[in-house]
Symmetry: C2
């Protein structure tokens, strides 16, 4: 009846990758509504209302069981919290403040009411912590596992909203917090899961690794930084949140702003525990920072003249500078080697 | 590691039902943002912007494979179209005009690029037909089947937005279009699927049933009615879209408005093909209209003084009237019997 699954051509989705696929599917899109200020291609869409200087930022993000999380080591309360926070993070990446959240959940009959309550407790805790209103959603049965899709809505004054596209040569490249922790948190959880699967008598040993496990299971959105920008009088020239890894996000800013990006390995903010886990897992902490993802820190650029405003902020690290497009995107290693950045992106297919 | 799945109490989700579950999970929610005008409990949330008389309506709805659709008889282009339209329908139910759409898709490696293009072609066709901008979304791999979650955003002047809660005793109860067709379209597709499964040589026979099959596979949102209201100078006192069946939606209006609802079987608008299929399947067409769902028509109430404005509109049928709460919700059958309405709702668990 439905012949869609006949393989009519040989182009594989994996050849396009996630971002290539989205570009492909949305090519030629034209916007007709005057309220549409910004469409596909940033952390959130931007929507205006007549006569208001306020812009709404809207973003949606889904979490699918066995792709984005494993129920074996993910407490449902943490999962609910994370599903909310990753959407808040997208709103923050526009220099906007999240205000509302809608959540759609697909869940199967193996869930007890207690379990769903835990999931919702996490969502509601995140809303409490970020002063966001849970205003809607949808609950369905799912025969195919747990799916949580969040949509966050936030707002910013029109003249303060920040896109991916405003970086200029000479601007400073900055990140908040530290990078790579969420990746090693995941590695640690996966290792302990394997040990547990082989020998259920063994209890998982996560002791001493609260920080990186927390980075993976219960990330935070940097709303504090958005508020700090406002106090400091800074409007970044471009911004994105770090969900897929620094390399991938740098390339997004580069592409959207039509500039090059040069960053220094020695400048990358890496927590001591992250560094130690790198040694233990024999995975370079720099690789984790560049390609690990899920840190939900902010990557942004500011004019050099703003340097004095950020230099004493312990949550902000300058990691490089913006160049002409012709310079490409590169990492200068501790050994002074120049490595061209490649997006690892999305290889789930 | 995760003990969430231990059955710590005996309350089953099925005892609560979909709406009871949502009520339970969202009880005690307080709204903190001044921009939140209306939260959980209507077809869409309502969000304001400072200094603007325009209100944004935001709604999200998910479609999950093998729960909401079966890939065997659902062309992907139709599926994409429907995923968009059911979200537009929620916006229309607030008397608002849909303007933006975000779509999150989870898909597995069995999808070819052609298949995804078909899905997107349907989404984009719906956006073209309704003059809506596709402004964002998210594409993930899914090991567990196809999931499409749409979020639609629309707008209306503050004084024209319609909630579920405004119906008053004496108001007329109206529906658009006709009811029950989508249900029989589904029955027909399921029957032909069964025949095909038993004997793949047999080709499905849907001839002569374009209308009801179309009602199931490619529903439309009644944006035309929202525009007609504006021209006629009508603001319904309450409104909801018919996604779960007339009985369920009447009970939503009743609960939100604190009134009773009396409707007449003989007034229910039922298409000839729907009626015939009822005979063929030995399922009462009235039952399909009351409990079938997925018609995506609008159910609304208007003041009696507006009757002259709608009486000649062939797309609008008056099916009953609003009473005091004490009268309950009832269907007066063709045999003059009074049947108390019960929500069939959601029994998927």
């Amino acid at each position: 009846m439905n012949e869609m699954f006949e393989n009519r051509n040989t182009v594989e989705i994996s050849e396009l990758g996630e971002f290539g696929l989205i570009d492909h599917l949305t090519q030629g899109i034209q916007y007709r509504q005057t309220s549409t200020i910004l469409g596909v291609g940033d952390d959130a869409a931007l929507i205006s209302s007549a006569n208001s200087e306020i812009v709404k930022a809207v973003s949606t993000d889904q979490m699918i069981e066995n792709v984005h999380f494993n129920m074996m080591y993910t407490p449902l309360k943490h999962l609910g919290y994370k599903a909310a926070v990753i959407n808040f993070s997208d709103i923050c990446a526009m220099n906007a403040v999240p205000q509302q959240l809608l959540v759609s959940i697909g869940l199967s009959s193996r869930f007890t009411l207690d379990a769903i309550e835990e999931l919702y407790a996490g969502i509601r805790l995140a809303c409490d912590n970020y002063n966001v209103d849970l205003v809607g959603g949808d609950t369905s049965s799912s025969r195919i596992g747990l799916i949580i899709t969040g949509t966050a809505i936030g707002e910013a004054p029109k003249d303060k909203v920040v896109r991916r596209s405003g970086a200029k040569p000479g601007d400073l490249i900055c990140v908040t917090g530290d990078l790579g922790g969420a990746y090693f948190g995941l590695q640690l959880l996966e290792r302990e899961k394997s040990i547990f699967m082989e020998n259920p008598e063994m209890q998982p040993d996560l002791s001493g690794h609260d920080y990186i496990v927390g980075r993976q299971l219960k990330p935070e959105a940097r709303l504090d930084i958005i508020k700090a920008f406002d106090k400091m009088g800074i409007i970044p020239s471009s911004m994105i949140d770090i969900s897929d890894g620094l390399a991938s996000e740098l390339m997004h800013l580069s592409k959207a702003s039509n500039v090059g990006m040069t960053v220094y390995e020695k400048k990358l903010p890496i927590d001591q525990d992250t560094f130690n886990m790198g040694v233990e897992f024999n995975i370079d902490a720099t690789t984790a920072a560049m390609n690990g993802g899920e840190d939900y820190e902010l990557l942004f650029t500011v004019q050099q003249s703003d340097y004095n405003k950020i230099e004493n902020d312990k949550d902000i690290t300058v990691i490089g500078y913006v160049t002409d497009l012709s310079q490409g995107n590169k990492l200068i290693t501790n050994g002074e080697q120049t490595v061209e950045l490649k997006a690892q992106g999305w290889k789930a297919f």
